[in-house]
Symmetry: C2
Subunit: 341 residues, 2 copies
């Protein structure tokens, strides 16, 4: 252990870390300091956020050689077990792998995805892996920002495969899609016609569908489901930038089918880097993050305004009843907002 | 013809109409005055807009008995011919029907949907029908607002079935979905695997898919496509508030299959009114319009700000290259904006 890190750790315990300590620690891949930097990025204290922005600014977006993988699926599909098995496969291959989560439900339940501290224990103890509990926050946008920044910090610390987990319940999928290169949807065979609660649109975001729990008695059903989803995709999806959504089966228990998923990721990255879309997509994602941040900040200031708050319920109710035109009410609220500033 | 309207028409020719003339004319279903009121709502002059907002405020959202139908499909699918045939069927049944359009492409081409003045001539001359050319505007949000307001004005003038047409090319579908009760997607048989250019997600918004041009040699292919889409939907869509997306075939030439589409609309409305979702959805749509209007207005003010404009290109470029964190750049721009005001 280098002295710089010892000093850094000592400092951490006593007082607020400074920029250079954080940067040095991250550069050296120190997990403790990485965790502290992520905690600062997640903090609601402005001074913490300013510091973490300075650190982020120092590193920029370094993920030239990283792969960012989003993973979703409804509760019960076996996401944790899959990620643990898949993560171990990669960590054993020598990849440095970080697992993050975008979990809107954790705002309410305080951590439905990552709250269980015993979760992914084996992976978390692997020398090549870093598992971070889910960030919480008052808004989806806030949670997404924290996860994106955690991802950049992990990459700055040398992590090469970033897995971002989320639940298949809505807007969190869009947020994750906007921060990853490859989006994997886990599904189950024989879960009936109800699409297993997967929200409209999520299946259309996926770069790969994997029918999980393809083991034991379930194996044949999984193969059938694979065939049926392949047929359906034929109608619903087209090739996008050289890649057509793949359908695979896998089992986190027998470990079968995990390697082919990683091969799909590698093939995907190769194709998209060759045709230039891989880095173009990242550029567009960054630009979108900036504009999304601006929008979120402007709206937050508007809806937090006291004068707006005082009359907005009444306006909303009149608009819903059809008594006040939507645009009319919007302008009244904006006038009130601008007078108050 | 009642004297009030004569006076109104005289006034129209000479000078700016006033509120009471507009209201009286709309109440009496005068198409000329309805058109003038819509033109005011579409105007970029603030005084025109204020006047039209007063008129809209007078009427509120009256469409308790109306049905709002969105229709989309790629160019070449036969939208105009379909709407003309479908509209005539309804107008002949005695329904008062209005046809509007949300057409983002008209911003560039000055009217790819409704620009052709000979379009829907027969329907436009039907005593029960009103066909309005596409609104234009500098933004999708602006075009959508104008169409929504035109819809409310048509309903105030007694129109019972509002058809909102759009092209299958992206965000305009979302805007239309947010203003209609029922969304119909027109498709063609045998157009290959490429989903006929229909954007991801549009098929998932539809309440009904109709395979158009199911006539002559095309008839069998249309029936096959119907079966295949039904099978695929089985995997991709679930029942929503009592309704499962229907797949039908139709021909605007032989007029076959048009009545079943109307029956589907009627059945849909009956189910959704019985379970309460019909009007609940409209309430939520109105609320969404209000918040969308607020967002659009706040963002428009931000991006039009001179200080923001001066530095935004440079910030965007740095963010895209990964040199500046997105959130950091967003905050710099917001600071500049707030200082300038």
């Amino acid at each position: 252990m280098k002295p710089a890190i010892d000093t850094a750790r000592d400092l951490m315990k006593k007082k607020k870390p400074n920029k250079s300590v954080l940067i040095k620690g991250i550069e050296q891949g120190d997990r403790f300091i990485l965790s502290r930097a992520i905690t600062l990025a997640e903090s609601s204290k402005k001074s913490d956020r300013v510091l973490s922005q300075e650190v982020l600014k120092h590193f920029g977006d370094q993920g030239q050689s990283s792969v960012r993988i989003g993973i979703t699926g409804v509760p019960g599909v076996g996401k944790s077990t899959f990620i643990e098995a898949f993560g171990e496969l990669l960590a054993d291959k020598g990849f440095k792998i970080a697992v993050l989560a975008v979990d809107p439900s954790s705002q309410v339940t305080k951590g439905s995805i990552m709250g269980d501290k015993t979760r992914m224990e084996k992976l978390a103890n692997h020398p090549n892996a870093y598992v971070r509990p889910s960030a919480s926050g008052s808004s989806m946008g806030g949670v997404a920002r924290k996860t994106r920044e955690a991802m950049l910090l992990c990459e700055a610390a040398g992590y090469e495969v970033i897995i971002v987990e989320t639940v298949g319940v809505g807007q969190s999928e869009t947020a994750v899609k906007d921060m990853v290169d490859f989006f994997l949807l886990l599904m189950l065979a024989g879960a009936g016609d109800e699409l297993q609660g997967i929200k409209k649109g999520i299946m259309e975001m996926a770069d790969c569908l994997a029918i999980n729990k393809a083991d034991g008695e379930n194996k044949n059903a999984a193969e059938r489901a694979k065939q049926e989803y392949s047929n359906a995709l034929h109608y619903f999806r087209q090739e996008e930038f050289g890649w057509h959504c793949k359908v695979l089966t896998c089992s986190s228990i027998s470990k079968k089918g995990l390697a082919p998923i990683w091969e799909a990721v590698e093939k995907f990255v190769e194709i998209r880097k060759t045709n230039g879309y891989f880095f173009e997509n990242r550029k567009q994602q960054r630009l979108k993050w900036m504009h999304e941040s601006i929008k979120a900040e402007l709206l937050a200031k508007f809806y937090a305004n006291e004068s707006v708050r005082q009359i907005s319920k009444e306006k909303e109710s009149k608009v819903m009843q059809g008594e006040l035109p939507a645009y009319f009410a919007a302008n009244e609220l904006i006038e009130v907002f601008e007078k108050d500033k």
